[in-house]
């Protein structure tokens, strides 16, 4: 479904270079795109193209060397609970039980106890972890830990959900299950989501819009709008066509950057 709502986030020719001991290393080069309200945007690209750095810049965890990031019109300077992040390595607080992990954001922002209890329980049920409130992260499986990560992000009543390859570490079977459960969580609790992944099926299954990034330094090379009805099936002919087209585009990018073609030639394309 076409999301024509107002703009949620606006990025204006963003670029980022890391200063490492052996010279500077350009990761992102002149990205301009925007994120619309309640849209499920997926940033898709090969392994090492600075997707995670881009996400961190959107969240305010990383500064940007050039360009600006705006969220609801204000410049993004440092992390804020309205831009919740779900980490690839889950980054749960190992010494807190599931309940305290999820309720952490509200506790820290001094939301009154009664509402906090209610919200925490609501989101724990939402992600299907009822009954595990008092166990420690070390006692949970990978999939369950990621659910706690999602519940924790949601519980901070975010405006935008930034997810950094959350299912990267999970085995295939749990990955599909998590994709489905993320789908219905998103259906119940509509939020703008920016989802980073390098898995083509995951991108097509979840996304309303896909932004394809080239290899390092990451640039936007193509944008696809996916308007297949949800929940999508992986064997739908349209799904397969799109998948073939995107993979071809990916391989094209791959060969260009490997061949003698330099950056300039890429721009004219």
């Amino acid at each position: 479904m076409e999301q024509s709502g107002k703009l949620k986030m606006k990025c204006q020719n963003l670029s980022k270079t890391f200063r490492t001991p052996n010279g500077s290393f350009e990761v992102l080069k002149d990205l301009t795109f925007d994120v619309r309200e309640n849209e499920f945007l997926v940033i898709f690209g090969p392994g090492q193209c600075g997707k995670t750095t881009l996400l961190y810049m959107l969240a305010g965890l990383e500064g940007c060397t050039a360009g600006t990031v705006e969220h609801n019109g204000q410049l993004v300077e440092e992390p804020h609970h309205s831009r919740a992040v779900v980490y690839q390595t889950m980054a749960l607080f190992p010494w807190m039980t599931v309940k305290r992990n999820v309720g952490f954001s509200q506790k820290v922002r001094k939301v009154d106890k009664q509402k906090r209890e209610q919200d925490t329980q609501k989101f724990i049920d939402l992600v299907g972890l009822t009954g595990f409130e008092n166990s420690y992260p070390v006692q949970l499986s990978g999939g369950m830990k990621q659910r706690v990560g999602i519940a924790r992000a949601y519980c901070g009543d975010p405006d935008v959900l930034l997810m950094d390859e959350p299912f990267g570490h999970l085995d295939a079977q749990t990955r599909y299950m998590m994709q489905e459960s993320l789908e219905n969580i998103w259906e119940n609790e509509k939020r703008t989501v920016v989802f980073v992944t390098n898995n083509i099926e995951e991108a097509l299954y979840l996304a309303d819009r896909i932004i394809l990034l080239t290899d390092c330094p990451g640039q936007i090379c193509k944008e696809y709008t996916i308007d297949m009805p949800r929940p999508r099936s992986l064997v739908d002919p349209e799904f397969l066509r799109l998948r073939k087209e995107i993979t071809q585009q990916m391989n094209a990018n791959e060969s260009n950057s490997l061949s003698a073609g330099n950056r300039a030639e890429m721009e004219q394309k």
Binding site: A59, P79, F93, W95, V108, R109, P137, G156
Partner: protein
Amino acid sequence: MSKKNQRARALAYGGGTFLLLLFLWEILVRMTDSQIPFPTPFAVIERFVDMLFHNVGYYYTIVGHVLWSLSRVLAGFCMAAVLGIVLGLTMGWFPYVRAIFMPIFNLLRPIAPLAWIPLAILWFGIGEKYKYFLIFIAAFVPFTLNSYAGATHVDKQLVGAAKMLGANNAQVFFEIVVPAAVPSIFSGAQVALSNSWMTMLAAEMVCATEGIGWIIIAGQAVNDMTQMIAGMLAIGIVGFLLANGMRLLERRCLVWNNQGN
């Protein structure tokens, strides 16, 4: 493997090593023909048992001496725990605190507790207080160092996540840095415990009328090796119990980090 027979296995292995060492000691004594009456293990154990019932030096049996030494060690240890952890964590997390205290701490850190004796007597007189001070100094350094290391090695991502969820700097310190440093603090506590026991002997060497260190020093004065080694046996046993007590405490506090040692 059920809990019970795992503990039995541990007991067997531990006991086995002890017996092996005692056996080695026995051979060593038999083998060396040197004149010094190096006591055999059984002589030491017999003397230790004897000390359990008869007074060593007029007032106390060895149990009384152990309690005296224990009271000094624990007093100094707890003071060092409180101050050391607070200073270590704040130094690890807040740059200004680090800038102020780190140079002074580094300068005073390597100084041996033994070297502090004259100043300790000057400041605290010759009763119990100077002994608390010496043990405090010995236990303070490992606590501070390990808390500092714990605070600096906290996982950056967890800090980022906490900030993202809206925690301000103080909340990040209390909710994230302190719990993350707890495993390191406990290993600091283990080292501090053994340091304080070591310094207890030095403290009791100067002027004491009771305590295990005093027993050992008295034994040294009259070249009574059995009394000295029996005193060391007492320290070893108490140290062993304390170390395991500390480990139990750690296992209960660190249930979330089941790799706790």
